[in-house]
């Protein structure tokens, strides 16, 4: 009955295997993860820095040359809209999933269908969402390539991340806090706002920042909802195309002219800066809260 006892390899071989697979293996993985990130950033900076002119930020694109003021403002405008639309929906959805749905008889949280829909939505390729936005909103509702369809498609894309992040952050707030709020006689909404949500704010903000970083870097869905414009964005929601930073990178990188090439890398550099700011801020918030959480213990 008992399993046959097999002899282990010699200790030296076992420790060699340990060293090889564990230390060397994880170091290699580290190198292969961090290396390409650095390489991408260095490539962009090295190609953009030699011809960088600050006037890029203050002039608009002329054909395939000029500056990127229109694209920078357009990207910021897109991010603002996503922050408002996806932020409200995503945070509300996260609160709903974490706090309001209750538990089933078997102890599992309810709302499985909504959670599943959110997760599956996060797996739909962004190009498909862009194409749907294009056929339904841009062509179907005659909105044409413009700001509102871009906002909607980007928001649908990042809502799952925000809802998920909010839910996770709320679930990490100790149950005692909620009980304490209730014991003090706070109504559910008030206690949620003043006690529970307040402790979850770092997690919520982090998920918002990551969602913004994702939106800033999107290209495929924007090509078919926002279009491209060399003019600074106006505040009209419909019928006017909008510029954004990923377009020049995607469109101008293989143009023959040097100016187009420069513009492509300038836009890439600005993208790197925006995304890095968002992600580093998110990281700092996480690190800060973790330190506080540890010191409290």
């Amino acid at each position: 009955m008992a399993k046959e006892v097999t002899a282990l390899p010699s200790p030296r071989r076992r420790h060699l295997a340990n060293w090889l697979f564990f230390r060397v293996g994880s170091m290699l993985a580290l190198l292969l993860v961090v290396g390409p990130v650095l390489w991408v950033v260095v490539t962009v900076v090295a190609n953009a820095a030699p011809h960088w002119k600050w006037s890029v930020l203050t002039t608009t694109t002329q054909g395939t040359s000029g500056g990127l003021e229109n694209a920078v403002l357009g990207t910021l405008l897109l991010l603002l809209g996503v922050l408002v639309i996806a932020g409200v929906i995503g945070v509300a959805g996260g609160i709903y999933l974490a706090e309001l749905v209750g538990t089933k008889a078997n102890g599992k949280p309810r709302g499985g269908v909504f959670r599943a829909a959110t997760e599956v939505l996060s797996g739909v390729p962004s190009i498909v969402l862009g194409y749907v936005g294009f056929t339904a909103l841009v062509v179907g509702l005659h909105w044409q390539l413009s700001l509102l369809p871009a906002w909607i498609v980007l928001s649908v894309m990042v809502v799952p991340y925000i809802a998920r992040g909010t839910e996770t952050a709320l679930r990490q707030v100790p149950t005692v806090y909620r009980e304490g709020a209730e014991a003090l006689g706070m109504p559910l909404g008030y206690g949620l706002r003043k006690v529970v949500l307040r402790s979850a704010i770092p997690g919520v903000v982090t998920s918002l920042l990551i969602a913004l970083a994702i939106s800033a870097g999107e290209t495929a869905p924007l090509l078919y909802t926002a279009g491209w414009s060399v003019d600074n964005p106006s505040f009209s929601l419909l019928h006017k195309q909008v510029g954004y930073l990923t377009y020049p990178v995607w469109e101008f990188w293989d143009y023959p002219s040097k100016q187009a090439h420069y513009l492509s890398f300038d836009a890439a550099l600005l993208l790197v800066v925006i995304v890095l700011i968002l992600l580093v801020t998110a990281r700092l918030i996480v690190a800060r809260t973790q330190r506080h959480a540890e010191s409290r213990r």
Partner: protein, 318 residues
């Protein structure tokens, strides 16, 4: 209300695509999945009617090369990404020095956040040419002429193509697989691992004999999750694959195309078709892509969640 929006958006997307693709599905039939010619036909000439659907004379839509390209590049991406992700996930959960693991964690976050258009730019201008000049020729020259390995023989091309696409895709799915795997490893209880240590197993043996079997099905789920992302990746692949429509590459270096890349690169020319049939066919392509990635994702979530539920729910009364 807010929770209804994702479900609504999901259903609306599928309905919109299915409605738009309807005529194309009827006319293209099974040829769409098996044929290998993607032609708009003569968009200035005569209009033909098949089953009451108008389309230009000579139009023909067979997406097999695109589907094959998608499968090939995703397979290469998984082969490269899975070991790297598992290594990174081990490094994160096991006893690495703190500064190292925090660098690694931030590296993974950054990799997830780098816009795909930048990875495409780097892949097309830096990585691809470098590989084609310095790495691919060495590999190609030394490959024996046996099945499978003969796919690695010459010509190596200029760096745009299947293998470069696979490598770029691998980079983009490493964060997904690594972070899911990390969460799974973190759920393995300490006691069995400590038991293993107490019996004198090395770290590697504990990992291989205790941690890995504990989360095996979850790891499969994580891999499938990565596959879902690889199937749908668009912009980077449109930049490094060569974005062809009708060609299946004869070796691993050749230029090719994927379904997602075709949707983004073909929309402009689809507008030249006045009958709207090209747009409908693109919708059918998007429909195929979304159905496949929905199925892949649901499968992955199902597998991951089955493992997930072993752990205690956080924040619910604990």
């Amino acid at each position: 209300m807010a929770a209804v929006i994702p479900a609504g958006a999901l259903i609306a997307s599928v309905v919109v695509l299915a409605t738009k693709a309807g005529p194309a599905v009827r006319v293209n039939g099974a040829h769409f999945l098996t044929g290998s010619d993607w032609k708009l036909g003569n968009t200035y000439g005569a209009i033909q009617h098949t089953d009451g659907v108008a389309h230009p004379l000579g139009s023909s839509y067979g997406a097999w090369p695109l589907i094959a390209g998608t499968l090939q590049s995703s397979a290469i991406a998984l082969i490269i990404a899975v070991p790297i992700s598992l290594g990174a996930a081990f490094a994160l959960t096991e006893r690495l020095p703190r500064w190292l693991s925090s660098i690694l964690r931030f590296g993974i976050e950054l990799l997830a956040g780098v816009p795909s258009v930048l990875i495409g730019l780097w892949g097309a201008l830096t990585l691809g040419p470098l590989l084609a000049r310095d790495v691919y020729p060495i590999v190609a020259d030394h490959m024996p002429n046996v099945p499978v390995l003969s796919y690695f023989k010459n010509p190596v091309g200029h760096g745009e193509g299947l293998l470069t696409s696979g490598i770029v895709l691998a980079l983009m799915i490493v964060p997904i697989i690594a972070s899911t795997a990390r969460n799974l490893f973190a759920q393995v209880p300490a006691l069995p691992k400590e038991g293993g240590e107490a019996l004198g197993l090395t770290d590697w043996e504990v990992t291989r004999k205790i941690t890995l079997p504990w989360v095996r099905s979850g790891l499969i789920g994580a891999t499938v999750l990565g596959l879902g992302r690889a199937l749908g990746e668009t912009i980077a692949i449109a930049m490094v694959s060569g974005a062809l429509l009708n060609t299946i590459t004869p070796n691993v270096y050749g230029t090719m195309g994927t379904v997602a890349a075709a949707i983004v690169s073909q929309l402009d020319s689809a507008f030249t078709d006045g009958t709207g049939f090209a747009i409908a066919s693109l919708a059918e392509l998007a429909l195929v892509l979304s159905i496949v990635s929905l199925l892949v994702n649901m499968l992955a979530r199902f597998i991951v969640h089955r493992t997930d539920s072993l752990s205690a729910p956080v924040g619910v009364g604990f």
